[in-house]
Amino acid sequence: MIRFENVSKKYGAILALQDVSVEIPEGQTLGLLGRNGAGKTTMLNLMTGYFPPTEGVVRVGGMEMMTHPRECKRLIGYLPERPPLYDEMTVSEYLAFVSELREVARGAGRAHIDEIIGLCGLGEMKHRVIGRLSKGYRQRVGIAQALCGSPEILVLDEPTVGLDPRQIAETRELIRLLAREHTVIFSSHILSEVQQLCTRVLILHEGRVVSDLEPGEQTPDQQKLRLRAAMGRDRLLRLLAELPCVLQAEAVPGSEEGEVRLVCRRQDENGLATDQIFRLFSRLDTPLRMIREEADTLEEIFLRETGGNA
């Protein structure tokens, strides 16, 4: 649906995006994560055609944005970080304007706007002047305008920033709803939000895509385990490290005595890693008090890939 081919973007001497190649297929809910200045907004602005890349090609729906801007832009609804609202217009006037701008047929316009108003929960606000709306409702109007023209792709730049907790929950629910029928791409600083909403996450750092993953996905041949046994930590680590399937064993800082984290081969010639561990403790006649599989949390991956503090 959207394809970046070796895309770079420079702002003067500053390289905001470096040689990014990414393909976003139809139906995905993609989250862009990154620290401030990582290139998230630049990437969104490039895919919406707000500005062209310095190098490389952006394709939307198989068409090149530079040569077919109109066709590409018809496929995308965009909510920038600051919703592009005209304060002097009422909600319905504004949505009628955006619908016309996005070439919604005149006859279908009214029903289309009413549908969007209903979907975004703006029914009571439709005759209100935008300038007098609360931040939460302004954000909803921003999302509503992105839906005008029924675009196949929704691009949302930090859609929950500056909202109160209730508004955040409502906006997330709305995004979840929209993701059923649209390809949704959004940027966020909030890791839990991305984890909850996305089927795929790109982590950007200093203008590069440093990680492309599906939240919760595991490395197929490896397994992360966390276990606690009735044994001193040093001895436990030594015994576990001797198991052929264990690649790495380490203590968990701040945890109880006898609690360790392992990276293992999921299965080798001796059987499953978990089976080998159970057999070890059975042989030692030592109680194994807890064992569970651990996924890399998005936070861990984010910190690792972006080199330190979030």
Partner: protein, 235 residues
């Protein structure tokens, strides 16, 4: 283009801008009408229309100040630039909205003509040429001021810049009369909107003057599109 034109035209009436422009124009024009026509028992409409042309210089920044500068300031340009609308359509749509306001105002000034027609004589052909010059001068100022609105982010700065540029054009006219070096005077005369306008006010339909005004408009609209596109590429 039509969508942009409609929104901008409505925008003039959603905010005080449209009312201020028409109101102030007609108020000052009324004072001029009293001084030039009524007080002197004169029917010299060309002189009155020539004076009204100066009002475009003073007031066209009011029409254009928000058109592009405010879009940039409030970041609503992101909506326009990411919609399936071309840059020339955006610029021309905005320009036509300002010109429509200008035509509404020019239409309202026909009331003064009506007064003269009741109490004196009006020569329709001469009047038509006078009004053509009056409107073309306004269109030229709007094109220049729209370009300047695209140069800055703040509507007030855009208005100040536009007023300064309009004033400079007026000064050119005065300079042309003061300069003794002939070729400089010729260049200044060529660039001066006011001296071009004089032929219209004399009731002469000059195609050169019409062409100049239209070229002036096209040149500044093209410059505006070019500037916005360059900024988009460089941003």
């Amino acid at each position: 283009m039509k969508t942009i034109w409609k929104r901008e035209l409505k925008g003039y009436f959603f905010t005080p801008t449209g009312y201020v422009f028409i109101g102030v124009f007609l108020l000052v024009a009324s004072v001029m009408f009293y001084m030039t026509i009524l007080r002197q028992h004169s029917g010299d409409l060309p002189a009155f229309i020539a004076e009204m042309t100066y009002l475009w210089m003073l007031l066209s920044p009011v029409l254009t100040m928000r058109l592009l500068a405010e879009e940039r300031q409030k970041k609503t340009d992101q909506l326009l630039m990411t919609s399936p609308v071309s840059l020339p359509a955006i610029v021309v749509g905005k320009y036509l909205a300002a010109v429509t306001m200008l035509l509404i105002t020019a239409g309202a000034t026909l009331f003064f003509v009506l007064v003269v027609a009741i109490y004196g004589t009006v020569f329709p052909a001469e009047l038509a040429v006078n009004y053509l010059g009056f409107i073309l001068a306004g269109c030229a100022f709007v094109a220049l001021d729209l370009f300047l609105s695209g140069c800055v982010k703040n509507p007030v700065s855009a208005a100040a810049l536009a007023f300064g540029a309009n004033f400079l054009l007026w000064i050119l006219d005065l300079l042309e009369r003061a300069v003794e070096v002939r070729w400089i005077a010729d260049v200044l005369r060529f660039l001066s909107l006011y001296s071009r306008n004089e032929t219209f006010m004399m009731g002469q339909l000059s195609f050169a003057a019409v062409l100049f005004d239209l070229s002036f408009v096209v040149a500044f609209l093209t410059l505006t599109v070019w500037m916005l596109d360059r900024r988009r590429v460089r941003s």
